[in-house]
Symmetry: C3
């Protein structure tokens, strides 16, 4: 059962405390650092080209998030990604705002072309745009995707040879062969800047534990979604929700994951 | 009555969810993103020159905040501002720390000269310095302004042909013709880094809704100040105050604005 | 008694509200700004080379934190540090992640060689690496130091002619002559990204008040540790702990410092 496998991965994550290296945006970077800690991982944020090789070498996963990309960061992302590929460290790409500007779409394509990306994780609009479906992204918000999301993710994953994660009320995770649907989560997560970025951090942490990219990514979204569900129980608004989101992730046990997971393999 | 107009603008903001594009500092950028969401707007933070034209084009307002300015950001601000001017998108400038260093004062003057700025929003010291009054700014803190603030704002607004917003226990908002005084707010707002930046975000969001710059800006400060008043009721210190500030803004209704507004047109 | 001296320094800090200029990382910069305010200081974050001389000139202390260093920031750090040295403003260096990559270790050495640094403040691994002991730093986490930490700090402080602060469950502060041990603090501080950076901010604030670097730094760690102890009493997880950490620092009185200090001079 997937929920038990997710629980076991989470337990192993807690025991191994993998280091997750981020090159990410300056809007939600603090949230990514703290959710990494609360999940049980160790965050590193560093983006100078001078230390990319050295910093990546000690990481269990590399998360590349283009939220506030610029020319200097993209160069560092490519350098870090190449080193990660040499060492077999999984590279997670979060294509924030892909489709909103050509610069973003092109940068994501460059990352996908030049690197061996393990997981591409975005919202419905971002994944839809990248997959070539009829999606719409305004700013960094997604306005959904046309067509069957399972089919889009599965086909795109197979075409690119990686795992695609599309977050939505029902998250789709597919490596082209195995496909998971995760229904954990809460609408309040949409009201906090950075929950998508944090989810990518958690996906990175789980992928540092297992090479089954689809299972690891689905397990990560189960944990993140469960933390959101628990947080919503006592929240009085988006910011108290955020506080409780971190606390819930920290207080979550592998048993909570096993019993609370809403995940199915299709 | 201004309080009813503010309430109506707030209701329209909630319905329209305008996108507010920020080029802002890395200290309080997360707060700006979250207060945008809690107010009812959609935040975008992007600063690469490569995507300025594209990103600005989809925005309802552009907020330029010089908190941690540098040469690269100033170029992006100018590019974004020019594009916003072409498209009639209002440009809000927050001259953080103007007067503390010549670099800041000169940059603000460059923005004011090269762009058609809709609203210049700063604290008493910053506006005083820019207006040429005898004000003092140490670091990014204001130490007040000499002279009659209403006169300073009104004359400066007329001279520049824009709306001047001077935040203080009594906020002054003037477009040179219409002048508003807003007394909403709470002293605890001074104890949280970024409340000034957040106010600029909210000013941006309201200016995306109405072309009456003075009324929109006054309405924004009413909403922000009211959120502060409500937050202070339960706060145990600056950080729990901050949490409640966001939650209060999110939970605020147009009716709350109508009944709680302390604004007068003079 | 050191606890009374710490209390007096804290009282003076509250009265004088020193300005602390930071060149720091974009991960925890907001926390540094807010802990400065809660401690009683005024934060400035600015890193453009164009305004370094002007901004440093009005500061009571300069904090250089290499958390997300890059070539541009290092140049600004050197410029700011030289100006601070000319004016007798204390320079605090936080060597985040020193030892994790050669780029970090070399940058710290450059800062130590080119500037007259007043306080070098890091965790056990960072200080151990810099002091040439057998320490291990993975990412930005320390994995302890071999040998007697008091001896390492005291010898390294004497060799460099500055004050060394090594944070750990028992913090060691030494200027080579006077050595203090501070046992305030709480394990939950390790679960929040940025408590180390915040401690450097507080060390900066106290060093703006007294030229007795070791005493000022020990007093800072007493205050920070006490805030952590108080916060832990009600926390439900790392993020509610963080909220209370700021509130506790803000609500702390000089009398609390006098009665709660766990500091001894050895």
């Amino acid at each position: 059962m997937t929920s038990l496998e997710a629980s076991r991965l989470f337990e192993e994550l807690r025991n191994r405390r993998p280091l997750v290296h981020h090159i990410t945006n300056y809007v939600t970077v603090n949230d990514c650092a703290n959710i990494a800690i609360c999940t049980g991982a160790a965050p590193v944020m560093a983006d100078a080209i001078e230390e990319m090789d050295d910093m990546v070498s000690i990481a269990g996963a590399l998360v590349l998030n283009i939220g506030t990309l610029n020319d200097r960061l993209v160069k560092s992302m490519l350098a870090a990604g190449r080193r990660a590929n040499e060492l077999g460290i999984p590279v997670i790409v979060d294509p924030v705002g892909a489709g909103a500007t050509p610069y973003r779409t092109e940068t994501v394509n460059q990352l996908l072309n030049d690197l061996d990306v393990a997981v591409l994780k975005g919202n419905a609009g971002e994944i839809g745009i990248m997959a070539g479906s009829d999606a719409k992204v305004v700013g960094v918000d997604s306005h959904g995707v046309k067509g069957d999301p399972v089919e889009i993710c599965s086909e795109y994953a197979e075409r690119l040879g990686l795992t695609v994660v599309m977050t939505a009320p029902e998250d789709i995770i597919s490596d082209g062969k195995d496909t998971y649907v995760v229904s954990n989560g809460h609408p309040m997560m949409e009201l906090v800047s950075g929950t998508g970025c944090m989810a990518s951090t958690v996906v990175g942490a789980f992928n540092a534990i297992s090479k089954d990219r689809a299972l690891a990514s689905a397990s990560a979204l189960v944990a993140m979604g469960l933390a959101g569900e628990k947080a919503a129980l006592e929240a009085k608004g988006p910011m108290s929700f955020r506080t409780k989101l971190f606390d819930s992730m920290y207080n979550m046990t592998p048993a909570d994951v096993a019993s609370g997971a809403k995940v199915r393999k299709i």
